[in-house]
Structures are given as C-alpha cells and as structure tokens.
Symmetry: C2
Subunit: 457 residues, 2 copies
C-alpha cells in the first residue's frame, strides 16, 4: 500500500510536471506567434506581390520560388521541390452574362465567371432560353422536353440554417461540380450556377467542375448570388426570358509544377514524419489570401516558431505547400505516392485550408486510439479558444496519406466568414486579421509540438 | 423498488422530453435569426442612415426616435422613453498633431484625436517638449523636474500575448482614463496617449477620460498606434523633439436624452423582468457599428424572434437601449434607479457590448446557484459555438442592477477583431458580418428563453 502510494505520488508529480512543461511550451509558442510572428508579413507578400496563382500560371511559378526562398532564408534543415504535372486551365478574357429580354428591365448585365475546368462558349457566345431548377431531381423531372436547347440555371442556395458553413457548402456544391453534365444529359446547351456563397453580394464565385464521361461537354458559369436572386425573380414573371453568355476559357496541356517542402530533421525518431501544410495554388480571380495563402504561411510559421524557440524535434517535421488542390489535387496525390515509394512513415498530417480565421479546434480522422490521444490534449488548447475536437475530417491534400494509416488532422477556424470570400475576387489580404492568422499558426505549432513529443501510440 | 424505478423512469422521460423541447426551440430561434433575421438590416439603417450618436448629439436624438419607431413597428407590447440627463461633450473642428523638429524627418503630421471629456487646447494650440513613459510608475520616477512644462506621451501597448483582447485593453486603458491627471500632477501641459488598439494602423482611437479632483485639467489626445511607434522611434534618437497639438473640444451643459425600452409582457410571473440590452450612444468619430450598434439591434431582434415564434413568455422581457455608456453611464444608472423606485424585480440582465462577432459563450456575474444553473445550459448552446461559460462579467449598463441581486450576463463573442475598430472612424457597417451578427442575436434569444422558462431558483 505504501509503495503504491509512492508510485501514485510519483506518477501524479510526473504528470503534474509534464503538464506544466506543456502548458509553458504552448504559452511560449503563442507568445512567439503574437509578439514576433511572421505569418502576416509573409501573407502580405504572397497576396499582394504574387497574388493569383492557379496551377500552371506564372503566379503559381512565382509562388513556388517564393516559398522555396522563404524557407531557405529561415534556415530550415532542408528545402526542396517535388515535381508534379498539373492541369492547365485558362480563363481567357472576361466573361459576359446578360438577361436579354426582361419585360420589367429589358437587357440586364449580370456578374458571371466561368467555372474552373469548363470549356468556353467561344466568341460567338450562347443565346438561349433559361430554366431554373433547385435540384438534380427537379431537373430529371423536367426531362428532355423542357430542358433541350436551354441553359439550366441551378439556384439552390447554401442552407443558411447550417451553423457550420462547410456543411452548407457540402449541401450545395454538387450543382457546381456536376451541374453541367447533369444538364447536358437532358440536352441543355449550358449551365449557369448560383455562386457558392453564404451571403448575397455581387462577386461571382468560381470553383472546380468536372465533366462526366460520355456526356456532351457544355459551358458552365457561376452567377453572383445577388444576380441569381434577380434572375430568379424575373423568371417567375416571365418564363420566356432569354439569356446570353460568353466565356473564353480553354483547357491546355498539363504543365510542370512543384510541391514545395521544408523540413526540420528529427532526432530520436527521425524516420517518423509529421506534415503541416496548405495548398499553394489559388483560383485565378484573386489573391487567395484566405484560400489558401493563410494555410501556407501558417505552415511555414509553425516550423519557424519551433526552430526560433530552439526546439529540437524528436520526429521530422515538414511544411508542405501542396500544388493544385483547386483543380486536380495532383500535388497531394504526388506527395503520398512519393512517400509510398520511399517507404516514408508519416505519423500525422495537419492541413489548414479553411481560412485564416479565429481558431475553434481541430478535426480528426484517425484510428480510435490516436483520436482519443489527440482529444486528450484539448485542456491544453482550450485556453486559446480551441474547444471543438469532435468532428471527423482532415484535408484534401493530406487525404491521400490515409492509405498508410497516417492520422489526418484539420485545423478548424471559425467558419462564418469563409464563404463570403471563397473563390472570389474579394479573397484579398485586407480580409485577413493579423491576430486571427497568428493564433491559427500557434494552434498548429502547438499540435505539432504535442504530436512530436508524445507520438500517437 | 418498483415504484422507485417508475419514478426514475418518469423523471428520465420528463428530462428527456424537456431537453428535446429546448433543443427544438433553440434550433427554431437560430433558424429564425439566420433565415429571416432583421438584425443586419436594422444595423444598416442605424449605421449608415443615422451614424455617429454621441450623447447629447443630434445623432443620438435620431437614434432614440429610430429605436422607438422600430420597436413600435414590430408590435411589442409596450415601448417607452425613460428620460435621463447626459453629459454633452463636443469635439469641435478636427485636431492637429505635429512632430516639429525631427532631425531625420523635419515636421511630421500625425493622426490624433481628442479623448472624450478632455478640455481643448484652444486655437493657439500647445507646443512643448515631449517625454515618453510606459507606466505611471515611470512617470512618478521622472518627477516634476523632468516632466514640468512638457507633453507626456503614454506609450504602453496593449499586450499582444493576451488571448482575450479585453484583458489586454484592461491592462492599458488607465493611460487613457487617468493619464492626463497623472501627468498634470508633475506639471505636464498635455497628455498624448497611444491609441487603445490591438493592431498597428493609422486610425486614432478616442474614448473616455476623467480628470481627478483638485488636479489641473490639461488636454488629452490619442495618437494612432502607427504614429505612436514613429514618435517613439524618433524620440530615441532625439530627446529634444518638440510637439504641437491643437484641439477644440468643449464640455457643454448636460443635455436631456433617453433610454429606449421595448417590452413583451409576461404571463405567469409578469413581475419578474429579464432585460436584454446594449448602448445606443456611440463615439462621435464613426458609425459605432460594432460599438454598440450591434448590441442594440441584437437586443431588439431577441424580442422580435421570440414574438415571431408566437412564444408567450412567463416573465416580462425588455429590450433596453441604454444611453450614454461611453462617457457617463447615466442611462444604466437611471434605469437601475427607476427600477429601485418602482420596486421592479429584475431576475437577470444580458448585455451585448463586445461587438457583433461570432459567439463564444456568456460571462456570468451571479450568486453561485444561479451561475451553476446558467452553466448547466451549456450543452444546449455548445452546438452553436458557445463553449465558454467560465468567465466573470456582465456589462457596464446592467452593472448598476447588481444592487438588487440581478444575475448579470454578458454576451461573449470572439474578441480578436474588436480593438481594431473600437472607438475609431473605421467602426463601420462593412466590418460587421451578417451571419456573425445573427448568430449573436440567436444566442441571446436562446439565453432569454431559458431564463424565462426555468428562472434561476
């Protein structure tokens, strides 16, 4: 009994000490991020000096070089490029959208943009009748006789009642991804999709779409939410409305690009790798400050903070700027493929791709024991506003690592503002708050520290 | 044993049922706020059509009329004005701040604004040497021989390492509130205070200051954080810098104004009152969209949501737009005084005065049993992002109700962005996100619903 008491005492004392070391280290990480942080300054450069960086574009190439130089200048143990071929889609000159013969308003110019991956209408454009649907089911019910020769207008909004806007996005985004091919099955000549936005405003949201095999390819454009509401209103009074659209996009040959990787080499278990990353490509309309400039600079900042603290990792820690998340995921696939080839063991991977907003928690996709261990760290992070460790999820780019049993972790910031900016021309640096961005970087660095120190076994 | 089992079963069934009713009602409240909310539209009017509304100003009078009409139009059971005399301070023409003889930069215009309640310099302005301090202690050590005849420059920043920016504000704001009188004790001719902002930018932050009794009154101005950093840097190289300041503010006679009150009358316990409120006055520099237009429209929205659901409250629920929180708290004091006089019993009061940002929780100042009861509702609100019920606090305007044992509750949104805008010309409507504002209103309505349904005994 006495021995047991002593053991208990030692155990408690040890836990007490270790807890307090963790608390102190995490406090130090947050202080570094908030007092001497570099993430905001890096994002300023990436957003304002480089700007848009769609896969295959000059901007993407500049972003690759910038990431490499930035991590080299920070003195990480190694920095290298991982070659990957990427799709190369170009928008061409600005699109035109026009309601032609409204009884109430005559001709009305509306804000549209081509969806990424879409073919163009060509310079002659497309003029046709237009029919509104809210779902693929409604489209099927209308059938060929109502749809043939027309433009299908997909107008189901993101559900405002969803508290998590990503859930609302998930409930609407099939219209953007598959709407064109669904409409083409019934003989439509083009698809016009309500922008995937939480708010009602003038900025059209681009984003990826894919053509189904063996279905005619028709042009797909997004319309701003405000103009979607206007068009819907006008259509209620006048089913014979005609719509004109013009887009000049093209799918070119695949182009060479790179994932950019920076590494701090581990000591004790150097063959176990922890990845922290975001995607370096953005859509072509804007700076991609939130999507996903934030995730990139936060990932670099994680390594910078840990090394500036003199922290010697047990495991190898990598910041990975993945290329081509937006329209192909080639970077994420390539990274996992190479890891497999080289028999690299990835313990865990963290992705930040939900914007540089105030931290709320982490999502976890891992086996039960690993999940529970991560969830047990919640008390250490709750004082910093991270209280939600309950959701499933990782991130698109790190997803392919699931095959090798890697624990996938998603950084989870507040979701309320993300879909005001996502894939639009207004996803700019001024929409990012410095403290929110820094708190995110510190949250990720704290998670990396805990993963590195304790592992997941 | 059998009877006990049955009772247990009934009890569990009852709790289950009641829990589920609460869950459903709260879901309905959030749906109303997010799908059919009016708070954003109300804030648009208050910010963009009325704008600045410092106590005693025409804007404040317009805001009183607007609040009354808005609540009357919404059909609340009664709406009335509660007269209160308020301080009447006016800024006068725009201030001037000028570094006069910098070796490096010559004359430099800097962004300044008078602090609320300060006397003016008069049209001749003040030119004097300037001395930087970080604390009152440092000022005391410098003493009369170093301070006499000079302008004291208070330059202690808000601590960026504080996660809660209100704690950082609390650690710095004495410089604004009492700096002038502290400096005057040592013969200073004016005080220049680093703006209370979390960020480094060009917008000076005004805010209340008070003169200590029996100390000479000297003018007090705020300087933007960016210019505070510049001035500090120049002073390091050149202690002989001269500074010029000019302000034209005046303290006029107290003016008549009003708290504006809207009420839904209770049924079963109509003499028990639940207050939900914000303050209607703002500083004169901007629209006061976050501070505290948000709190006002959210409070009105709470009553609108509950009545639009056909909810029949057991207790009497009041939305109170308090006047003069910013520079006197006369409205809050008057409301409590009248409640005392009329022997009104206030069960609880909720204040929203931390901006229209995404909800995090509620602060509570109440006796232990009431606090525990409120904290026990956390599982009902956590799905909506409200996880923090641990902090002490209520709100300035509801504070005076503490005397009668009222439970004081503060709506607690995320704090990271608040002090970028607080008391500046950039606290404008475009800084408020619709969903965040609506989620706040729904959070407050849910708390009112639970307080009304269960009481605090």
């Amino acid at each position: 009994m006495k021995l047991f008491s002593i053991i208990t005492f030692l155990l408690v004392a040890h836990i007490g000490l270790s807890q307090s070391t963790d608390e102190m280290t995490i406090r130090q990480i947050f202080n570094k991020a908030l007092s001497e942080g570099k993430s905001y300054q890096m994002l300023d450069y990436l957003s304002n000096k480089i700007g848009a960086r769609l896969s295959g574009s000059p901007g993407a190439a500049a972003a690759v070089e910038w990431s490499r130089h930035t991590m080299e200048d920070l003195g990480f143990d190694s920095v290298w490029l991982q070659p990957v071929m990427v799709p190369h889609w170009v928008r061409g000159q600005k699109e035109v959208g026009r309601i032609l013969n409204s009884k109430k308003m005559g001709t009305v110019e509306v804000n549209v943009c081509a969806l990424g991956g879409s073919i163009g209408t060509g310079p002659e454009g497309i003029s046709a009748g237009i029919i509104e649907v809210k779902s693929f089911q409604e489209l099927a019910q209308l059938g060929i006789k109502n749809v043939q020769g027309k433009i299908v207008f997909f107008n189901r909004p993101m559900d405002p009642n969803q508290i998590n806007t990503f859930a609302a996005y998930g409930g609407a985004v099939e219209q953007r991804g598959s709407g064109a091919s669904e409409a083409a099955k019934y003989g439509a000549v083009a698809a016009l999709v309500r922008s995937m936005g939480s708010n009602v405003d003038d900025a059209p949201h681009t984003g990826g779409m894919r053509y189904a095999p063996n279905v005619a390819k028709i042009p797909a454009l997004a319309i701003s939410t405000r103009h979607a509401e206007l068009l819907s209103k006008l259509l209620k009074d006048d089913k014979s409305l005609q719509f004109y659209m013009e887009s000049h996009c093209e799918i070119l040959e695949d182009a060479p690009s790179y994932n950019v990787i920076g590494e701090l080499r581990g000591g004790e278990y150097k063959d176990e790798i922890i990845v922290v990353g975001g995607h370096l490509d953005s859509w072509d309309l804007a700076q991609g400050a939130h999507d996903d400039g934030s995730g990139c600079v936060q990932s670099i900042e994680v390594l910078r903070i840990l090394s500036s603290m003199g922290y010697k990792p047990k495991r190898t820690i990598r910041a990975v700027m993945f290329m081509n998340e937006e329209n192909g995921l080639r970077g994420g696939l390539k990274y996992a493929e190479e890891a497999q080839k080289k028999k690299e063991k990835h313990l865990a991977a963290i992705e930040s791709d939900r914007g540089g907003f105030t931290p709320r928690g982490f999502t976890i996709s891992a086996e039960e024991a690993a999940r529970k261990r991560i969830q047990a760290w919640k008390p250490l992070l709750e004082p910093y506003g991270l209280a939600d460790f309950s959701q499933e999820g990782g991130g698109a780019d790190i997803g392919p690592l699931a095959n090798q049993g890697t624990a996938l972790i998603g950084f989870l910031p507040d979701s309320q503002r993300y879909f005001d900016y996502h894939h639009t021309a207004i996803d700019t640096f001024d929409k990012v708050n410095k403290r929110e961005l820094e708190l995110g970087a510190a949250s990720m660095a704290s998670m990396v520290y805990l993963l590195d120190k304790y592992g997941l076994k």
